[in-house]
Amino acid sequence: MDKPLIEVKNLTAGYGREAILRDISFDVHPQEILLIVGPSGCGKSTLLKHMIGLMQPMSGDVLFWGQSIVKADQEAQRNIMRKFGVAYQGGALFGSMTLAENVSLPLHEYTDLPAELIRSITEIKLHMVGLSGFGDYLPSELSGGMRKRAGLARALALDPKILFFDEPSSGLDPLIAADLDELILNVRKAQGTTMVIVTHDLASTFTIADRVIMLDASIKGILAHGKPEELRDHENDIVRRFFRRESAADHAMLG
C-alpha cells in the first residue's frame, strides 16, 4: 500500500479540560475519499479542526507527508496548510469581496501568475462548481448552496493535493447535494485529490466514500471503520442503525 498522506496518531482532543475524542489513530491514503461520519456531537468537526491545525490537540499528533502539523513552528505550519484546501460549511467567503476576488485571493497571495491568467483560472474554477458568470457577485447576493460551492472553488484554487470538506451537503436540497457529490468525484478523477469529508449525509456516504470512519460520543473515539457497505452490516447496533437510518424504537418493535 502507498505511504499514507496523513497520519493521525493517538490524538486526544477536546475543549478546556474535557476530552471529546480519546486516543484515536488512523491514516489517509493518497487519492482516497475518506468520510468522517457520526451522530451530532460526536466530535466530527473537532477532529477536522485538529487535522487542519486550527486547534492544538491535548496529546497525540497529526502528520502530513510525515511532517507534524502539531509540532511545526508557524512558518512550517503555514507551508503545510498551503498544500491543502479547506471548504467550510457555510462557504466562509469573505463578505466584502466578490466571488472572483474570493477565489483568486490564494492565487494572488501564493503565485506570481500574470493577472489575465489568474482571471482565466478563476473562471475555470467557478465554472467547475457551476458558477460561471457569477464572478462579480457578492456572497450576500447568493443562496446558501451557491456560497458553499464558491467556497469549494476557493479551496480548489491552488489545486491542493488534499481537500478537507466540512458538511458538503448540509442545508442543500437532494438534487444539488447529488450534483456536489458528482463534483467531488470529478475533482478526484481529474486531479487525484485526496479528500477528507465530514458529513452525516448517508446518501452521499454511499456514493462517494472509499472508506468511512464513524465516531461516537459514547466511546469518545472511532466506533467503526471500513467501506460503507461493510458498515451497513456491522455487528455493532448503533453503527448498523446509523447506516440504515433506523430509529431505536423501530428496532425495539421489530425485535
Binding site: G95, T111, I118, S120, I124, H127, D159
Partner: protein, 361 residues
C-alpha cells in the same frame, strides 16, 4: 504558423513558462496557432487556465486556433473543449454602468424610502410607548432594569472621569481669562452655567451614544441576522414593544440621572481648577455657584438629556433593525448609529438652546 507541443505534465510549475513562451511567439502574429495535446497526461487548473487564456488571446488577435488531439491519452482536449462556454470573459464584458438618470432615481427612491421607514418607526415607537403607559403591567420591567444597569451604572466611571475633566479644563481656561478682567469670582458662574446648561448633557449624550446607541444597534442587528426578529414576529410578539421600548425607556430614565451626576462632577472639576489657580476658597466657590445656579439651569439640561436619550435609543434601534442578513451590515449599522446619533444630538442641542434662550430665561 505556430505549433506548440504541450509537455506530458502541464502543471503550475511549467505551465506559466509555456504560456510566456507562446505569448512571445504570438506577438509575431502567426496566421494560426496549433496546439498538440497528444502527450498531456497530467494537468491542473493552471494548465487549463493557460490554454483558455491563450485561446482568448488568439481570438482577440484574430489568430486561428486549432487543437490537434490525436492520441490524447487522458482527454485533455475534451476537457478544454468543455470550457468553451467560458469564452465570453475574453471579450471582457464589464457590468453596464447605470446612467445618471437611473442613479438619480435610485438615490431619490432610497432617500424617500428611508424617510418612510423613519416615519413608520417613529409612529411605531410612539404607539408602543403609549401602549406601555396604558398597560404598565405588561411591560418588560425586568428587561428595562437590565438596560438601565448596562447603560447607567456601568457608565458611571467614564461619566465621572469625562465630566470632571471637562469642568477642570473649563475652570482653568476661565480662570486665565477672568483673571485679566479681575472677575475671578465669575469663574464659578461660567463653569456652573455652562456645565449644567450645555456641557453636562452634551458630554453624557456623547458617552451614551458611544456606549448605549452602538450596543443597541449591534444587538438588534445581530438578532436580525440570526432571524431572531423574524421569530418574534411569527410568534405574534410586537417587536417594538418587546425589543425597543425597554431600551428607550431604560435610557430615558437613566440619562437625566447621569446628567445630574455629571453636572456635579463638572462643578467639582471647576472647583479644583479654581482653587488651584485663583485665590478663591472652596467655601466661597460653592456658595457662589449655589447663588448663581437656578433650578431652571439644571432643568434645561435635564430636558435636553431626555430628548437626547430618545434620539440615541431610537436611532440605535432603528439602525439595528435596518441591518440585513450579513455580519458586515451589523458593523455598518453600529457605525451609522453612532454617526447619526452624534449628528442628531448636536442638531437638537442647537435647536433646544435657541428655543430656551428665546422663550425661557
Amino acid at each position: 504558423m505556430l505549433v506548440v507541443v504541450l509537455p506530458p505534465v502541464l502543471e503550475a510549475d511549467n505551465a506559466v513558462a509555456v504560456y510566456r513562451e507562446t505569448k512571445k511567439r504570438l506577438a509575431r502574429r502567426p496566421k494560426r496557432l496549433t496546439v498538440k495535446t497528444h502527450q498531456v497526461k497530467e494537468w491542473d487548473g493552471t494548465g487549463l487556465g493557460v490554454l483558455v487564456q491563450l485561446r482568448c488571446d488568439c481570438e482577440k488577435a484574430k489568430i486561428e486556433w486549432q487543437i490537434e488531439s490525436d492520441g490524447d491519452p487522458k482527454g485533455f482536449a475534451r476537457t478544454l473543449r468543455e470550457l468553451k462556454e467560458l469564452e465570453p470573459h475574453c471579450q471582457g464584458i464589464a457590468r453596464p454602468r447605470p446612467s445618471p438618470l437611473v442613479w438619480l432615481g435610485d438615490q431619490s427612491y432610497r432617500l424617500s424610502s428611508e424617510f418612510f421607514r423613519l416615519t413608520a418607526f417613529v409612529g411605531d415607537l410612539t404607539l408602543a410607548l403609549w401602549q406601555t403607559l396604558r398597560h404598565p403591567f405588561r411591560a418588560r420591567w425586568g428587561n428595562m432594569l437590565y438596560y438601565m444597569d448596562r447603560t447607567g451604572t456601568e457608565a458611571l466611571p467614564i461619566t465621572s472621569m469625562i465630566t470632571f475633566l471637562m469642568g477642570l479644563i473649563l475652570g482653568f481656561q476661565a480662570a486665565l481669562q477672568m483673571q485679566k478682567l479681575a472677575g475671578d469670582m465669575y469663574v464659578a458662574d461660567l463653569v456652573g452655567l455652562s456645565i449644567t446648561r450645555e456641557l453636562g448633557p452634551l458630554m453624557v449624550a456623547m458617552i451614551c451614544t458611544g456606549r448605549a446607541g452602538s450596543a443597541f444597534a449591534a444587538e438588534i442587528g445581530t438578532m436580525r441576522v440570526n432571524d431572531e426578529v423574524d421569530a418574534l414576529t411569527t410568534m405574534g410578539i410586537d417587536r417594538t414593544c418587546f425589543l425597543i421600548v425597554p431600551k428607550v425607556i431604560g435610557l430615558t430614565v437613566v440619562m437625566p440621572l447621569l446628567t445630574l451626576y455629571g453636572d456635579l462632577m463638572g462643578v467639582l472639576g471647576g472647583l479644583l481648577a479654581t482653587t488651584l489657580t485663583l485665590e478663591i476658597g472652596v467655601q466661597s466657590y460653592i456658595s457662589r455657584t449655589l447663588e448663581v445656579l437656578t433650578f431652571w439651569d439644571v432643568g434645561q439640561g435635564m430636558i435636553k438629556s431626555v430628548v437626547f436619550a430618545l434620539l440615541i435609543a431610537g436611532v440605535g434601534c432603528l439602525r439595528g433593525l435596518q441591518a440585513e442578513r450579513s455580519a458586515e451590515d451589523v458593523g455598518r449599522s453600529t457605525t451609522s448609529a453612532v454617526v447619526s446619533g452624534v449628528f442628531l444630538i448636536v442638531l437638537f442641542d442647537a435647536a433646544l438652546t435657541i428655543v430656551f434662550s428665546r422663550f425661557g430665561v
